[in-house]
């Protein structure tokens, strides 16, 4: 019973965090984009664009890193 519940709980977190480095980079960028960039005096219209560019950069960097690794 406890094993089953633990598996369901792990499965729930696994929905969001597969590669901790990838998830960590996304969260760090969201915090930076949401809390840091507006304080730098960026034009408000530019913030959504920067958000998307950052997320795409993290995605492409992550898959390229994985592609460079030997198959496991």
């Amino acid at each position: 019973m406890m094993g089953g519940l633990r598996k369901i709980w792990n499965e729930f977190w696994g929905l969001f965090i597969d590669d901790p480095r990838f998830a960590g980079a996304i969260l760090a960028w969201l915090v930076l984009a949401g809390a840091g960039l507006p304080r730098l005096g960026m034009p408000k219209g530019l913030l959504p664009v920067l958000l998307v560019i950052g997320l795409l950069g993290i995605l492409v960097d992550s898959v390229m890193r994985r592609a460079r690794q030997p198959r496991s």
Binding site: P48, V60, A67
Partner: protein, 248 residues
């Protein structure tokens, strides 16, 4: 509140496709349970899990609707970005051949072998069949509940379209399972995951921005633009990964 077209159509599509992928994975195991241990336990366990998932959706939806929309956008936007980009990352790596594709037939055979070596039934309900069927339906269904609740409560009146998409997927998978009695391996699962990853990433990004109080260029229509940007970037990423893999 009624849903507007730019939000409702991706919501239905995202819920339908994501649910299709998850229910197909669950159906593979339920079919293995049914074929080896009998249909009573297989259908009983899956039905029990579906009831629990429906209750979970019915409880979570109203709770989230009661929270101020700005916070819901911010939190669910963040979770959808994490969830969507995770799916998209995996779909890119699979499409590029960096990691192997998910094989429903192999999963079916593995589960069939495991169930055949387990003990027999002494009478009444087959506990192993019920438990296996229940667990897999619940585990895969939790993803469906998250998508339905996240997509449904973040938008304007989207819970109906999201539930509709999920229920339609469930009915399609049940019909396919009942018709063929074997794993639904002809469905291009990775392409579906690719599309769902794009849709959920776009939803999440849009709602995170909304939660921050930012103005998207083109307002709600920018959601469609975000989908286009994510698709393009993901396809470019597949090509880059293929090149990288060749050069390795």
């Amino acid at each position: 509140m009624t849903a507007d077209w730019p939000h409702a159509s991706p919501a239905i599509l995202a819920a339908f496709l994501a649910s299709l992928v998850e229910f197909i994975e669950a159906m593979t195991i339920v079919l293995a349970v049914g074929a080896v241990r009998g249909w009573r336990g297989a259908i009983g366990g899956a039905s029990l899990a579906l009831v629990l998932l429906a209750v979970l959706t019915a409880l979570l939806g109203p709770v989230l609707i009661a929270i101020p929309l700005g916070w819901v956008h911010l939190v669910l936007g963040t979770l959808l970005i994490l969830f969507g980009l995770r799916w998209l990352r995996k779909a890119i790596l699979r499409a590029a051949g960096v990691i192997p594709l998910h094989d429903e037939t192999a999963a079916y055979q593995r589960q069939t072998r495991a169930l055949q070596t387990a003990g027999g039934v002494l009478g009444g309900w087959d506990r192993l069949a019920v438990a296996t069927s229940f667990k897999i339906t619940l585990i895969e269904g939790i993803e469906v509940v998250f998508i339905v609740v996240a997509v449904g409560t973040s938008g304007r009146g989207l819970i109906g379209p999201a539930v509709l998409g999920a229920v339609a997927a469930l009915l399609v998978v049940i019909a396919l399972g009942a018709a063929f009695h074997k794993p639904v391996s002809m469905v291009p699962e990775n392409s579906l995951k690719f599309i769902v990853g794009v849709l959920l990433s776009a939803f999440g990004t849009f709602w995170f921005g909304e939660g921050m109080g930012w103005q998207w260029p083109g307002a709600d229509w920018s959601l469609l633009g975000l989908n286009g940007i994510y698709v393009t970037a993901a396809l470019v990423a597949v090509l880059l990964c293929r090149q990288e893999k060749k050069a390795r």
